[in-house]
Amino acid sequence: MPSHLLNIVKKELLEIFRDPRLFIGMVIVPILVFPLMGFTVGTSMEASQKQLEQMEVGVLSYDNNGTLSNYSFVLLAIMRTQNISWRSAPVDTPTDGISWCIANNLTVLVVIPANFSERIDTGESARLEVFQVLVDYGFTESAISSRVVGAVDTFNKAVTASRLHATYPGVPSEELLVPAQVKSQSVVKGEIKDVDPNTLVATISMSSIMMPVVIMILIIMAAQLAATSVAMEKEQKTMEVLLSLPIKRIYILIGKLAGVIVVSLIATLTYIVGFSYYMTSITGGAGVSLDLNALGMSPEPVGYAIMVASLFLSFITALSLAVLLAAYTKDVRSAQSLMGLMYMPLMIPTIVLMFAPLDVLPTSLQAVLYAIPFTYPILASHALYTKEYFVVLIGIIYQVAFTAAILWLATRLFASEKVLTAKLEFGRKRKRIVE
């Protein structure tokens, strides 16, 4: 009777949504915490960027007895064009210069040696010294010295270009500086794509890494929810009330799964919204540097369909397994401990496939991964871009068979008295008293 099923689902949803712990964990956290994290990270990155933009350094120059001449003047001018302002340190030694920088809140001291211009003029290499005051070893501090080094790099190119111009007048400096240029292009399925392979791989692997992690988190949360729901029915003895009603026991099982699936779908949506906002916040909307549409590489609808199917089956498998395991426990605490067993097969494919494709792994590890049904949604997320669907489709057939077997076992368990009498406990053994 579908009305029986609807009543069970309604009861499940009421229970879940009225439990503040579950509601906060599955809906509020992703919708609130991810954007908040994004805002915080974005704000700190913006502040760091501003600090770098308004960078000021101290300069201690010994070049031509302290008089700024020729090349040291050019170097400092280039620094100014790159938004690095500078102040002359009114001291005699680098040690005093560093103390002066600290006293004046400057983090970098550039020391220009006495024979700087002269050595460059005679074709010799001059050595600049850059001292950076480190305070918090943060991300911004590493970028500060890179900016100074970048300015010196520009100076070097300018000097080299001016020297080459004397020998090759009329030749553009870019060509003089880079005699052999490289243009890397990607070949995808025999078709040349006008994009650097590194950029393409970085763009695709970004989603290939993030998606499995999000998938894993969601499946773990849903399984935990299902296990808690069943264990709570046993702990509070409400399972006895349900089982004493004139309804088919499979409705109780399906109703429970359906309730958790509805909540998981809502959680998935909030995760997607929250996580997208988080990614946009930290990348300023420029997280994906490539337009995959323009390259004809964006995922196809069939790819999405296959992924959704594989993901849905994974949910059902995880939930059925969770219900099956939880039905053998005595209470919520035992169920949650037992759920730890399920995390391993969930995490192994996610972690392994994050770093290496399946076909380069040793055969034994490949066999293990193929046997785990949770491998296939991750392969499906990769197949969105590779468009190699065959293995995933075979995997879906395997997932259907695996899920059917687990559901059958769960149905058998619910039909037997074991659903009431099984009392697996962890960490403590008690003598059983029968009344």
């Binding site: 009777m1 009305s3 029986h4 009543n7 069970i8 309604k10 009861k11 009421l14 229970e15 009225r18 439990d19 509070q236 003895k237 409400t238 399972m239 006895e240 009330v241 089982l243 004493s244 009603l245 004139p246 309804i247 088919k248 008295e417 009431l420 009498t421 059983r432 008293i433 029968v434 009344e435």
Partner: protein, 241 residues
């Protein structure tokens, strides 16, 4: 009516109930009186189709509990020993859910809820979440769930447990009236006074077996005991030695 024939239930090596036989007639309140662990709850769970007997048979309204469990479930109201309620639902939502699952007509369900609300004085808390209830409120809500669909057979495991004297009296009167209407009531208790004041007949059950079965007055008379408690001790104590 209700009948148990040579019923045995083992949990692994533990024998919970052994070769138990008794009958409960329509209009009768029948008590299973015993200590904790005597096998009362196991017997009731078998009759409520929650457990399967290892041997023997059980019938509710003449229907075999093993062969036709769904038909049996339609005819019984079962009150577990601990009030089993959903903490996040209100009693009204819980009872409405049970009524719908028992396929009660919406109008009949509304009428019945109104009646139980008054009879069990549940008006104050019917629309509050069950998690906020006192022990007595929980017991009344659980009791309402067992009698909601007016079943011909009531199986009550410690029905007055957790109730204050006023409500215990109210429930006892209610149970008696319910049986007088031609329905069958099987209840368990470990309180001899309740068995004495409420049950038409009582089976004293010890270690999974019936030690004696009769009307409380007849049991007292047979054993020359002043109270049912004395009769109970006289019967059970020698079995401990």
């Amino acid at each position: 009516m209700l009948a148990v024939q040579n019923l045995t239930k083992n949990f692994g090596k533990v024998v919970a109930v052994y070769d138990l036989s008794f009958e409960v007639r329509p209009g009768e309140v029948f008590g299973l009186l015993g200590t904790n662990g005597a096998g009362k709850t196991t017997t009731m769970k078998i009759l409520a189709t929650l457990l399967k007997p290892t041997a023997g048979k059980a019938f509710v309204d003449g229907i075999d509990v093993l062969k036709y469990p769904t038909e049996v479930k339609r005819r019984i109201g079962y009150l577990p020993e601990t009030p089993a309620l959903y903490e996040k639902l209100t009693a009204r939502e819980f009872l409405q859910m049970l009524g719908s699952l028992r396929e009660m007509e919406p109008i009949a369900l509304r009428k019945r809820l109104g009646y139980l609300e008054k009879a069990l004085e549940m008006g104050e808390f019917l629309d509050l979440e069950i998690g906020t209830y006192s022990k007595g409120m929980r017991q009344r809500a659980a009791f309402a769930s067992a009698v909601l669909h007016e079943p011909p057979v009531l199986i009550l495991d410690e029905p007055t447990s957790g109730l204050d004297p006023r409500f215990a009296k109210l429930v006892k009167g209610w149970v008696r009236d319910y049986a007088r209407g031609g329905r069958t009531v099987l209840m368990s208790t470990h309180v001899t006074e309740i068995a004495e004041s409420l049950c038409d007949r009582t089976a004293i059950i010890d270690r999974g077996q019936i030690a004696a079965l009769d009307a409380p007055a007849a049991l007292k008379e047979r054993l020359g005991a002043a109270t049912l408690e004395d009769a109970f001790v006289q019967l059970v104590e020698p079995r401990r030695k």
